[in-house]
Amino acid sequence: MEERVLVGVVATDPVLEAGVSYAMAGCPELAIATSGDETEVTVVVVDRFDQDTLDRIQLIRAAPHRPEVVLVAPDLVPADALRVIAAGARGLLRRREATAERLARAVLAAAGGDCTVSPDMLDRLLAAPDRPGPTAFASTGVSILGDRERDVLQLLADGWETREIARKLCYSTRTVTSVVHDITQRFRLRNRAHAVAYAIRAGML
């Protein structure tokens, strides 16, 4: 038997928070966190989506133990859904679809590195089939990596060492190291080789 996934809930009000925790407590593969625990996955439940929601996702992801985030929100327009994914969320469910079983599954998937998105939302996120145009991310101006991060990753993928990258980009070696560190932390990657493979597979490079 694999270990249980420690999950926490953050909601706009305590009643909702208790309800969602209770719903997930029925899943034998999940353990509900008490306050102060370092959760593997945090479920964020909101009544409406705004900048505050994105800030909250980023704040949770920035914790030292890097929890994954599953967002339960009302229906989102595609651009906002992309922002949520770019902010690092690994699951996006609509309030009305978030049954206990589905939520538990999305949490387990997030802990395992998968991402859950409602199917029709996936459809809307992908550009129209026969129109080769800007990609979903490009067309909404949402980006996952900053310019500096992309430059450093690109040079890493081309086989340059820290010192050479620093010289090419006119940064200090310390800056280069810290950019790489930030990327590996944010996406939970083990090292540079992992980061480069991840970035290429994710279409970031």
Partner: protein, 203 residues
């Protein structure tokens, strides 16, 4: 919760038995026919998603029948192709432990979209047709099966000691394999080797 039944289609016998073993361990009921009942999910196992697509009878794709693709490699363009063809649930073969396989099968049955995070990002970034497609037209340097396996583990961020444990060989052997594959790919370091392997569609 209703009983889940699974019909397995695989590109080869090794993959079939891997999926069947995981399903047996999880105690999942197998179905001989793909269209037995509404609770029957068809799991298709192959090397890439495009191969899974070929292995999957078109009638299963056209009528919204629940499908789960289990693949070793997720090429971004294939992810987009699969999503547009109505496949919503995909899992990496390496991640398909009994419990995760069962969770993914339930997602497929309920029509949830679930796929590896970087595969989703790749699809949303436009299926990255540039690096992979162009690299494929240039003949990729060929690697031995062992070199490919080591390169794959390097791309997962494993260090030499872990790779040695996984492949049940010495660290010294791992170092030699890495040295040889780096020479063959003409690359400068590990990150470069991995980038080259992913872009050439080797891993």
């Amino acid at each position: 919760m209703s009983t889940l039944r699974v019909h397995v289609i695989a590109a080869d016998e090794v993959r079939r038995s891997a999926v069947l073993t995981a399903l047996r361990r999880a105690g999942v009921e197998l179905a001989a026919e793909p269209l037995g009942s509404s609770d029957t999910v068809t799991a298709v196992a192959a090397d890439t998603l495009d191969e899974a697509m070929l292995a999957c009878p078109p009638r299963l794709r056209s009528d919204g029948h629940p499908l789960l693709f289990v693949a070793d490699r997720f090429v971004p363009a294939d992810v987009v192709h699969a999503l547009r063809s109505g496949v919503r649930t995909m899992i990496r073969a390496a991640d398909a432990t009994p419990s995760r396989l069962v969770a993914a099968l339930h997602s497929a049955r309920d029509g949830d979209g679930q796929l590896p995070h970087e595969a989703l990002l790749g699809a949303l970034s436009g299926g990255a047709p540039t690096p992979v497609a162009t690299a494929r037209t240039v003949p990729a340097p060929s690697l031995t099966a062992r070199q490919m396996r080591v390169l794959e583990l390097m791309a997962e961020g494993q260090d030499n000691a872990t790779i040695a444990r996984t492949l049940r060989c010495s660290e010294h052997t791992v170092k030699n394999v890495i040295y040889d594959l780096m020479v063959r790919l003409g690359v400068r370091n590990r990150a470069h080797a991995v980038a080259c392997g992913v872009r050439a569609g080797l891993i």
